[in-house]
Amino acid sequence: MNAALLDVQSVSKRFGGFAALTDVSLGVRAGERLGIIGPNGSGKTTLINCICGALRGHRGTILFDGHDVTGLAPYQRTRLGIARSFQIPRPFASMSLVDNVAVPLEYVARRDLTDRDLAPRDSKRRGPLAAADIRAEALAILDQMGLQAGADALAATLTQVGLRKLELARAMAARPRLLILDEVMAGLSSTEVDEVLALLFTLSERGVTILMIEHIMRAIMRFSERVVCLDAGRVMAEGPPATIAADPMVRRIYLGA
């Protein structure tokens, strides 16, 4: 699979006088594991917002699986197969964990007309999710994240770590072809990071393309096939993890030396 699933073409975004992104181009192959690094304020989240449609009115084009999605609303892009987690978790606080996960199941998986199947339990099942199966499916996804114990509790009662896991669970429930993770591992312990990485590797094996923004270098280096480094809204370096880690410019960007 060498076709570009995601093709970001010369995207620029300004906020008043501030240039958040300048001429950023990026190609992500189907099935690839891409890592994005860069200091705070380098435009990583802005780039994600442009890809997902949370930010419109930018210059440049976003192509997903050959379709021009630049003008589409976020929910339409999600239905095409792009899902994301938020850097600062945004749970549906008044709803239970099960209901939180049920929302993307209801709005994406139920309408899933393609052959995409990423159901954690039964990899043989294809096609859209039946209404009656939503709760069971939600519980299964929560189980994968270790959240099944308090599944019927309100999301407002979760700890920070629990909230991040819920973010990931919801994004997975949307049956994405492209999963974008915005610092999903912040605040996790070493063991938890390994657990999440194992889960992500499994998803990758099933064919999900994963774009990971992280500050935890260990995770990025282990997980990514390719790493892109952003600084001040521009792509500064691109290449395999080992090369990027050794790149003096990257070191300078991060350490300011």
């Binding site: 906020f15 008043g16 006088g17 606080a93 008044s94 407002a156």
Partner: protein, 288 residues
Amino acid sequence: MPLELLIEAVIAGVLLGCFYAAVSVGLSVAFGLLDVPQIAHPAFLVLGAYGAYLLGTYGVDPLLAGALLTPLFFVGGLGVYRLYHAVFEGRRDAGLGGLAFLFGIAFIVEVALILAFGVDQRMVEAAYIGRSVALGELRLPIRMLVAFGVALLLTGTLALYLSRTFTGRAIKAVAQDQTALALMGADPVRIKQWAFGIATGTCALAGALLIIVQPVEPGLGRLYIGRTFCVAVLAGLGSMPGTLAAGVILGVAESIVLTSLGASWAPAVAFGLLLLVLAIRPAGLFGR
């Protein structure tokens, strides 16, 4: 429209617009800087107007009454913000609760005024009300000139305060980045409370202006929700010069519509302009 009529409308509109700026300046602070959807602002204006009326029955000049009542309104604003912040600015459903609360406050103020003063219109008397001065062919009502002057004074003072004093700059800072401000040792909540107090305090003097410019009745607040929010949004993010400019734009627009289409359409101008601004440039004139 004949040119003469247009010029008259524009000049009247500029005076009217500065008045609108004066009554909206508090909302620019509360909504523009503090992000509080202060729909009770016009109700506080009407409250201030009635305060001026009440003191007027003892022979106090309305502007003086407004100045005297300002500390009272300031303290009231401190209290309202304290309650608002404690109850709503942490809640998940902040939108619904906060709005409903402020609407309830506005409503209670209106009904209380009805119970105290009845529904009839009230006016005040002063040397400068009821007389006009001639400017060539035009007759300019002196009370509008007074409003014009006070408006410039209010916006100018607040602009200076916000840019020259420590607290003022802290207020502008808290609008932009609360966390950074906290890290610099200032308490964001106390600063916001102080700012809201100022915003409410302006309603005393602005309310006095209101009753100088036109007769008031308890339900008048609802008409001014559109005007004040239009000016505050058009101004952009609590900018004081923006408030003045936005007020003038609204004033001139309303004045022209008044001259050409009649009085019943004038209230719609503010809402129409507001929707236009939100559609085209929601950040306002001076917002980022």
